[in-house]
């Protein structure tokens, strides 16, 4: 049940005015907690989240040193919306259960095939095939890592029965093999499970325990399981307060996994996770954009908005030549200046400009749509009946130029939506769908592209640089980046009123204008709401 709007407003006002840090939670009667900070009322609805294919592969890597990345061939595909982790799209199936079983069997075999790796995973040297002490020690440490929480004594005892296989085969590792397989196909491995303890004063709200907090943190910041240090913190009860979470998160952001994760967030959000070019070009573009994200967010800790302002880009000769920039004289990428090319920031990257191509050319409509939906978090309705989106607009003598053809979109009922999209795309038309500069339409040298664009309701611009300046001046992107990060964090695309209130709160906290992305992350994970969940329907 959602709290009444008035009560919520009061709660928010209190939090905002006093900066209250609630009393430490205390257990109430019947296993609930009595005290929760007012902002816990804005806790997001959460449900079981199955590991995405990416998370599965990365978790397998961290758990078993397994770098074969086997998930994609055997697990059901993740739906992109645009993030790959929307749990409301996940449905268990026979192919999931059987895929998980086969993956588990093969991962266990790989892990045990290499004696050195096996020794690291098991953590003790058995003195006999049926060494109970060593097996129990393995189950306890490995089980905590696999399930991301300490196993109960009863759970460990359950797995101890597998020692019979070791005895039967006269091979200690037969039991280890069986245990790894059992762990890897268990829902407690395959899903992130959050239960929590009811907050007695807030019906429907639950406070997460420290292990659940550890997983929330690690899957948000690393896209993988918590490491031993984080599990130790959880075990010691040191992930209970916003300060403790913030401190743990700071440490985690120094890890390479955080870079990959934040790169991936941006790639899924802005749609360049997979690029439709030949491998060399796609790889160079992905590296270019990831490098800019990491430079701004991690290396130089500059305002996130500098992604849109960067006057340099990370390119080797191949990519620089592709863009028509001065090559750095190097086959390995370096930071080079955009100079007077007119390029600036991430929207000048091939990775971004590849988005929304259609009919082997750019689509101003699609690009405009992508800007509205992804960067401004707006909704554009689907085309109405009677619109054939599958064929290009017909070319006549009078409409040989693309912009002339698209004027058809300004007629009648089309205009209301297309005026929101097409003019944005027109402003990017000088850049083709691989980010190369051009002055005329494909195959139509007489069709000179003017590159003038407009974001209806905000202003006019020319080129990616102009669009970026316009978006920053109008402060139009801030709430959307918070919204998108929030969707990624809660694993849900469709947000409800409670979600939106928290997004607004987090945005307000950052203030108008520039902010650092790590501050946004720390504001989210170190906020009073992060340790709570709301039970879903």
């Amino acid at each position: 049940m959602r709290p009444p709007a008035l009560a919520l407003a009061v709660a928010l006002a209190q939090a905002a005015c006093t900066g209250t840090i609630a009393d430490p939670p205390s257990a109430g009667p019947g296993g609930g907690v009595v005290n929760a900070p007012p902002l816990a009322a804005l806790a997001a609805t959460s449900g079981l989240r199955r590991l995405t294919i990416r998370e599965y592969d990365d978790t397998l890597h961290d758990l078993l040193e397994d770098d074969t990345r086997p998930g994609a061939t055997l697990l059901p595909a993740d739906v992109r919306s645009p993030f790959d982790n929307d749990y409301t799209t996940q449905v268990a199936s026979q192919s999931l259960i059987e895929g998980a079983e086969l993956l588990a069997t093969e991962a266990a075999a790989r892990a045990l095939a290499d004696p050195a790796r096996r020794a690291r995973i098991v953590g003790c040297t058995p003195t006999s095939a049926s060494d109970e002490g060593c097996f129990r020690s393995f189950l306890t440490t490995f089980g905590r890592r696999a399930f991301r929480r300490t196993l109960t004594a009863e759970q460990v005892d359950g797995y101890m029965t597998l020692l019979a296989f070791a005895t039967e085969d006269n091979d200690f590792y037969a039991a280890v093999d069986a245990a790894i397989r059992a762990f890897l196909q268990d829902p407690q491995f395959l899903y992130r499970i959050e239960i929590g303890v009811p907050v007695l004063t807030m019906p429907g709200v639950y406070q997460l325990d420290d292990f659940e907090m550890a997983s929330r943190l690690s899957y948000l910041l690393w896209g993988s399981m918590p490491n031993d240090a984080l599990l130790d913190l959880a075990e010691e009860g040191r992930l209970s307060t916003p300060d403790e979470m913030r401190s743990a998160a700071r440490t985690m952001l120094d890890d390479a996994r955080a870079r990959e994760r934040i790169d991936r967030f941006h790639a899924l959000w802005l749609g360049y996770e997979m690029l439709p070019h030949a491998a060399e070009l796609s790889n160079a573009m992905a590296l270019e954009t990831n490098s800019l994200v990491e430079r701004i967010v991690f290396d130089e800790r500059r305002p996130w908005q500098d992604l849109f302002r960067s006057t340099e880009t990370f390119a080797n000769d191949f990519l620089a030549e592709h863009y028509g920039l001065e090559p750095p004289g190097s086959t390995t990428p370096r930071w080079i200046s955009y100079g007077t090319s007119g390029r600036q920031g991430i929207l000048s990257h091939g990775a971004f400009l590849s988005l929304g191509a259609k009919f082997a050319d750019t689509s101003p409509t699609q690009r405009g749509r992508e800007i509205r939906v992804r960067l401004l978090c707006q909704t554009i309705p689907d085309p109405p009946p009677g619109v054939d989106v599958d064929n290009p607009l017909p070319v006549t003598e009078a409409t040989r130029c693309k912009k002339e053809r698209l004027l058809a979109h300004t007629q009648g009922g089309c205009a209301s939506c297309h005026s929101l999209m097409d003019p944005i795309g027109f402003g990017l038309e000088n850049y083709d769908q691989a980010g190369q500069y051009r002055t005329t339409d494909v195959g139509e040298p007489e069709c000179v592209i003017d590159g003038m664009g407009e974001v209806a309701g905000i202003g006019t611009f020319q080129g990616p640089a102009g669009l970026e300046d316009l978006l920053l001046e109008s402060n139009a992107v801030n709430q959307c980046v918070v919204t998108q990060l929030y969707r990624f964090a809660v694993g849900r695309t469709t947000l409800d009123d409670t979600d939106n209130q928290l997004v607004t709160h987090l945005t307000d906290q950052l203030g108008a204008g520039d902010f650092r992305f790590d501050d946004l992350l720390l504001g989210l994970v170190g906020g009073e709401t992060f340790g709570y969940r709301r039970e879903g329907p």
Binding site: P76, A77, A92, L102, H277, A357, A360, D390, N391, G536
Partner: protein, 486 residues
């Protein structure tokens, strides 16, 4: 006997002589026969192709025979029926139509004027689409209804496969509704999509691991490994049960779904024959073909159309999957299968399959009727392959499996008027649709061409359902194509 050559390509093309799969009087088959009193079990397969049968702006048709009746003309799209010698086993129903909203609302089993992904639900579930885009079925699909009726105690109630593993466009994933052909009705009336098995290797493992080899020592080892697998699952089972008890309502419902699938796997493992029967273990297909990347659509830098992207050796994948369906039927591991051959609006590269530097969808709009025909022909070939594989295997009584099977192949669209684009001759049309139906279950007439003018493709599906003993209609629709029962 069917050749194992293609199947073995997956393990490096080594020519290995393998025991042919045969079924005699195994205990399994006898039991299977017994649970449909007085009848041999029937089998049902529905296959879906994500391409229409004609290209834009051309009246050329290279699929539909000019004459009706037996011994129909083998048009170019049907060539594989002749090549594989199964023309006499396959009937073709033409002149079909999915009706659309002409202003008075969406007709029963019909669609809004939106074309793509609006033709699947009407065909496989007989349900009308909504007014919005996106034609997910609005009721249980035919394969589910048939499985409810005829699966009996077979270990695999239903085989749901998808041949095309990736979309080859955009982010390259086929996720969610789009990649599914099968939808199951829950007790509360809601529908769940069934994620198909995409990996041929997993499909094989699912059906045949645990089958004991002939060699006694190997058989003993297999028995032990199966026992371990069950013990491991038993632990997972117990943990999941304890977990469910701790979950809130929504999570509990979702985890129960997961748990149901664990239990179903346990049941299947229990049903694996403990010793070698006459149902032989087929060769493992080896590693799956690599999943192809999304196709480059970019011509600006003079990149030629890719000859390698956009294809995951679907031809081999389909061959393996039809092998597996045939073996599963022969061993009575299953009686029902649904196979999504290609995703609606299929972007699969046609270079490897037929030498066209284009994808299937593009061939329909950048009109190339021979290219579309090649795409249609490839799907027909998969039906032909399965037909042949079933025809050459014996049922419990020594007759051909095909005598008790009905296989339907459906296409995303036909060739004619497109109300969405108001175009007279379009690939975005549900006029002049064609469905192929193979097998002789329930007295189906094979090897014939019928025109069922303006009947619905789902009426052909209903015919197949009726043929395997499932009476009644499908979704909004009733009635079979009577000519098929002559």
């Amino acid at each position: 006997m069917i050749t194992r050559r293609t199947f073995l390509r997956g393990i490096g093309g080594v020519a290995v002589a393998l025991p042919a799969l045969e079924i005699m009087d195994s205990p399994r088959a006898s039991r299977a026969a017994a649970d449909v009193p007085g009848a041999r079990p029937c089998r049902f397969v529905v296959m879906q192709a994500g391409v229409s049968t004609g290209a834009d702006s051309t009246d050329d048709d290279l699929l539909v025979p000019s004459a009706t009746g037996a011994g129909y003309e083998i048009r170019p799209a049907l060539q594989s029926l002749e090549d594989l010698g199964v023309a006499a086993d396959v009937s073709l129903v033409s002149g079909l139509k999915i009706p659309w909203d002409t202003g008075g609302g969406i007709p029963p089993g019909g669609r809004s004027v939106f074309y793509h992904y609006n033709t699947i639900g009407p065909q496989v579930a007989g349900t009308a689409t909504g007014t919005e885009r996106g034609g997910r079925p609005r009721g249980p699909t035919c394969d589910q209804l048939v499985a409810d009726a005829i699966a009996g105690e077979t270990p695999h109630r239903l085989l749901t496969y998808r041949v095309q593993p990736a979309s080859y466009v955009g982010r390259n994933e086929i996720g969610g509704d789009s990649g599914c052909l099968s939808w199951r009705s829950n007790s509360d009336g809601s529908l769940d999509r069934i994620e198909p098995t995409v990996s041929p290797r997993l499909a094989f493992e699912s059906l045949f691991t645990g089958f004991a080899p002939a060699d006694p020592a190997e058989a003993e080892r297999a028995r032990r490994l199966l026992g371990r697998r069950k013990s491991i699952l038993d632990l997972v089972h117990g943990n999941t049960e304890r977990l469910i008890a701790k979950l809130g309502t929504g999570d509990r419902r979702r985890m129960e779904r997961h748990f149901d699938e664990i239990r179903a796997l346990e049941t299947r493992l229990d049903a694996i024959p403990p010793v070698v029967g006459s149902c032989m273990l087929p060769a493992a297909p080896g590693a799956d073909p690599a999943i192809g990347e999304a196709i480059i659509e970019y011509e600006g830098a003079g990149q030629p159309y890719s000859t390698s992207q956009g294809y995951s050796n679907e031809d081999l994948r389909a061959d393996v999957m039809t092998d597996l369906v045939a073996m599963a039927f022969a061993c009575d591991l299953s009686r029902v299968a649904s196979i999504l051959l290609t995703e609606w609006k299929c972007y699969m590269n046609m270079f490897q399959l037929a030498g066209y530097e284009s994808d299937m969808h593009e061939l329909t709009h950048n009109p190339n009727q021979p290219g579309v025909t090649a795409a249609v022909a490839w799907h027909v070939k998969q039906l032909a392959r399965l037909t042949l594989k079933l025809r050459d295997r014996q049922d419990v009584d020594g007759s051909s499996l095909l005598d008790h099977t009905a296989i339907v192949l459906l296409f995303e669209g036909g060739h004619g008027y497109d109300p969405e684009g108001d175009s007279a001759v379009s690939s975005h049309s549900t006029e002049n649709m064609v469905a192929l139906i193979a097998g002789r279950a329930g007295g189906l007439r094979a090897g014939q061409h019928f025109i069922a003018r303006d009947m619905h493709p789902a009426n052909v599906v209903i015919s197949a359902m009726n043929a395997v003993g499932v009476d009644g209609g499908l979704g909004d629709l009733d009635g079979n194509v009577s000519q098929l029962f002559g």
